[in-house]
């Protein structure tokens, strides 16, 4: 009985340490995204049966069908149409080639079961964003009122914090996490160590190229899992 008590105590204790890391990015010296990992991003999807006429307002663009107004039941402005009657939507067409717009505007087709979700960033968009961060980082160091300044080390919003660490050789390690976490510099250094071990010491990895090393992936995942469970202070050196 005592043991059980102790166990739950420890469990609850470690829960207070829980920290959420949303993603890890590595940007090369020349500004290219060479690695990214999505971690623990909550997948938000809502499915609902609709009758004619549709009571949410949609915008049909060739790339996606998105909600522009009238949110309801968790389906929010900005969400995109993921599936119709369980059939996946690719851009503005269904899997079987039918056009989504004509389908949704024809009364005979209803009731329809529509699934909406938060849009996921594509790899291209991520590469684009990484190369946007690069000049932003440089501008920050030039805007400095003091003589010298580093680039952006911390970027805070109401939903996440971005931590950036640039090595002396110019590689940037970026971690996106929930706000209010401390000691992220330790995590960034640890990722740097993993990079120097499992990417650079891999004889088949060429410098400046995207990192496709399974060992690196798994060690990084292990590291993230560990700090999510036990907090950052328990990292062994």
């Amino acid at each position: 009985m005592f043991l059980v008590c102790l166990f739950t105590r420890i469990n609850r204790f470690s829960l207070t340490f829980k920290m959420i890391i949303y993603g890890v990015y590595i940007v090369s010296k020349s500004g290219g995204l060479i690695f990214n990992l999505d971690n623990n991003v909550p997948r938000i999807e809502h499915e609902k049966t609709f009758t004619y006429p549709l009571d949410i307002i949609l915008d049909y663009s060739p790339k996606k069908v998105s909600v522009v107004f009238n949110r309801k039941d968790g389906i929010n402005v900005g969400h995109i149409l993921v599936a119709v009657n369980g059939m996946v939507v690719n851009g503005a067409t269904l899997e079987d080639g039918r056009d989504v717009k004509t389908l949704l505007e024809t009364a005979d087709n209803y009731p329809l079961n529509l699934k909406f979700g938060r849009p996921k960033m594509t790899t291209n968009e991520k590469i684009f964003l990484a190369s946007m961060f690069y000049p932003l980082f440089a501008i920050a160091s030039q805007l400095s009122p003091e003589n010298k300044s580093s680039g952006i080390e911390l970027l805070e919003t109401d939903t996440f914090t971005l931590h950036c660490f640039q090595t002396l050789t110019g590689v940037k390690f970026i971690v996106v996490s929930e706000t209010g976490l401390v000691g992220m510099d330790i995590l960034l250094r640890k990722i740097y160590e993993l990079y120097s071990d499992y990417a650079l010491k891999n004889p088949f990895y060429s410098l400046e190229m995207p990192i496709r090393c399974e060992l690196f992936d798994s060690k990084l995942q292990l590291l993230l899992d560990m700090i999510e469970k036990t907090g950052i202070n328990n990292l062994d050196k």
């Binding site: 680039g151 090595t167 590689v171 250094r189």
Partner: protein
Amino acid sequence: RAPPRNSEFLTLTYGALVTQMLRDLENVEDVNKQLERIGYNMGMRLIEDFLARTSAPRCMEMRETADRIQQAFRIYLNIQPSITNWSTASDEFSLQFETNPLTEFVELPPDLNNLRYCAIITGCIRGALEMVQLDVQCWFVQDQLKGDNVTEVRVKFIRRLEDAIPAGED
């Protein structure tokens, strides 16, 4: 970090590499060049390992750089070269090795007198420093394999690679 468990393994592997290259290339000068190049590529990667483990800040003078190189030898080869023979302009120094694990069992045959057996070391220093935006020249002045008392590696500062310095670092 613990020093290599058995440095003999490194010594023998390196010996095997050099002899294989002598067999493949025949021309000793080519072997020197290739060893330098291998070292250069190793240095470019090894520097990240060094920085990740030591958290060393950027060097602002040659004397700091010399200390860091010394520290790197301690970490990777478990030897401590002494830093000597500073030039008056403080842009040139020597690393002197009493012992060198790479040459522990090596006797150079007379016909290979032109071989720079440890050329990988000079390449490594050059590659590593280039990644932290320091252009240096690096060569052997003395070599125990050729009858000198000590092995001496000379490092000469050429310039800082200003264009390559990452934003927020210059």
